[in-house]
Symmetry: C2
């Protein structure tokens, strides 16, 4: 699907959340590049299906466990001399998290704290953290990495920004090399939730009408997962905490997603039923756009537009 | 010491960390103003000595417990119909926290999460959170509330910024009224740690020489605790998350603190032994200055300069 040249040095890498939607793609590519991968995942959103094609690979091992099981996590760190951690373990479903703050406090923030504690204890210095546009809160201007007055409006965004804050402290106190990548909406093969996934599920049940949360005018950038993985592998690990928005210049409305899904399913005349209001759910940021000059200057750019990403994801999910 | 007019409405108030240095002063003033106060404190840094003068007051109750004991905290919330929470429970000793990240993760961040969960569960909407200049990290420009790219360099600063991030999410999801006040160094009667406290302790042991961490040129604003309490009572609780720096325009070097303490102790010719380097300890921000235009425009200004605050604190500690 995309080409990554093998690294000069083979590394021992932990992927937290490695059986999830994005984590499993990262697992594929880092194994392909010749690294030794340990995947830790509680299979809460992830699934064995996403990684079982690696079960015979001697460079791959999978631990089904909760990152927050500190004793077990320390065993994993003690057994494997990790040189780098990719931390993607989180509740990535903002809508679900809105119903109970404990979900994001535990799955999104506490996982980060447990990872940081284990890295500190075992002297692991390199971290890539999967952050999110949700840390910015509901801002109308193009989001820059250095933007001030960040006020997340969802538990998910709060837990991710809180994670960044703790990472900042650990990075400074322990001279770590940290990349923080703030993801927009990510789509592609192996989706576990989100608009594309939900619409397909609903239309399979009833191909005549489609309930759409909000007024359908919510408009966000969708990145194709392969493009995002490229960004994750492209950015160097440098001393300190290095924050990048990774995304696309274009954006797709929720109504447009419905149109694309219907087209790809060959459905015509589907009646859209909007639940109304400008947001899809409490904590939803209905519209945002990244300033991507930092990551573009660094030399990375997404290959697919937002609409293309949505269409590819729909095709892959059908 | 200062005059606060009683509130129109008597309120049921929880002060988390109410037996600590700042919390106990707040307890004094809010009781004086006619409110019903429940103080929860684990007496880790606080002490019964600081609040025992209220033990006979029927408007005051004290629970010696850890905020993170969720079951007990929920009992306290269920028993008292709180209308407002002042959350000052934290490990306020940055230097101590630097030795073990678990201290600030538990005492500074988890306390906030437990408070937020309890407020959410029991429908309490008003919160004042004691934050810190340390959330800004090591910046040389005057610190504005809306400054971007906040990168705390201590576990303490990280845990406070992480707390702010979670508060932002809870405030937005539950339409809360939150005041966040970012404190500078605070001094006054009942100090439990810090330069003034340490210097007096050291000079009592050996009045001939004084070890000073760093090169003595670290220069920070010190606010007198009574001034800070005034700010806390002055600022209105408004919907959303309202962030204020509270501080003084002036600043005091560590060497000047030593000079003032020696003067107040009547010691002459004390030999200063500097441990060297520009910072006092890992995670120390050696120099900062607030932009105070927001809180000054709101109508509050500190009565004492930084040097005056240090001198009054030295007098009170002797």
């Amino acid at each position: 699907m995309w080409v990554i040249s093998p690294k000069d040095i083979e590394m021992n890498i932990l992927i937290a959340g490695g059986a999830g939607f994005i984590g499993s793609h990262l697992t594929d590519v880092l194994l392909e590049a010749g690294h030794k991968i340990v995947c830790v995942d509680n299979l809460c959103l992830g699934s064995e299906n996403m990684i079982k094609h690696h079960f015979e690979n001697p460079c791959f091992s999978f631990c089904k466990q909760n990152i927050c099981d500190v004793e077990k996590l320390n065993e994993v760190f003690a057994l494997n001399k990790f040189e780098r951690v990719y931390h993607l373990a989180a509740n990535s479903d903002i809508q679900k998290g809105g119903k109970n703050p404990s979900i994001d406090i535990h799955d999104t923030l506490e996982t980060t704290i447990c990872i940081l504690n284990a890295m500190h204890k075992h002297g692991v210095k390199e971290l890539l953290f999967a952050s999110t546009s949700a840390v910015y809160g509901d801002k109308r201007e193009r989001l820059q990495e250095t933007a001030g007055d960040l006020r997340p409006i969802s538990y998910y965004g709060g837990a991710k920004l809180a994670s960044e804050a703790m990472i900042s402290a650990f990075a400074a106190m322990n001279t770590m090399k940290v990349s923080i990548i703030r993801f927009p909406n990510v789509v592609g093969p192996r989706l576990t939730h989100g608009a594309v996934y939900d619409f397909i599920k609903k239309l399979r049940k009833n191909p005549k009408e489609l309930e759409i949360l909000g007024d359908g005018k919510q408009e966000k950038p969708y990145i194709y997962v392969a493009d995002l993985i490229e960004a994750m592998l492209f950015l160097p690990f440098e001393t300190g905490m290095n924050i990048y928005n990774a995304g696309v210049e274009s954006a797709t409305t929720v109504k447009k997603i419905a149109d694309i899904v219907c087209e790809e399913m060959g459905l015509k005349g589907v009646e859209y039923k909007f639940t109304g209001g400008s947001i899809g759910w409490p904590g939803d940021v209905p519209k945002f756009q990244y300033d991507l000059s930092k990551i573009h200057s660094a030399g990375w750019k997404a290959k697919h537009t937002s609409d293309e990403a949505v269409r590819l994801a729909a095709k892959a999910t059908l």
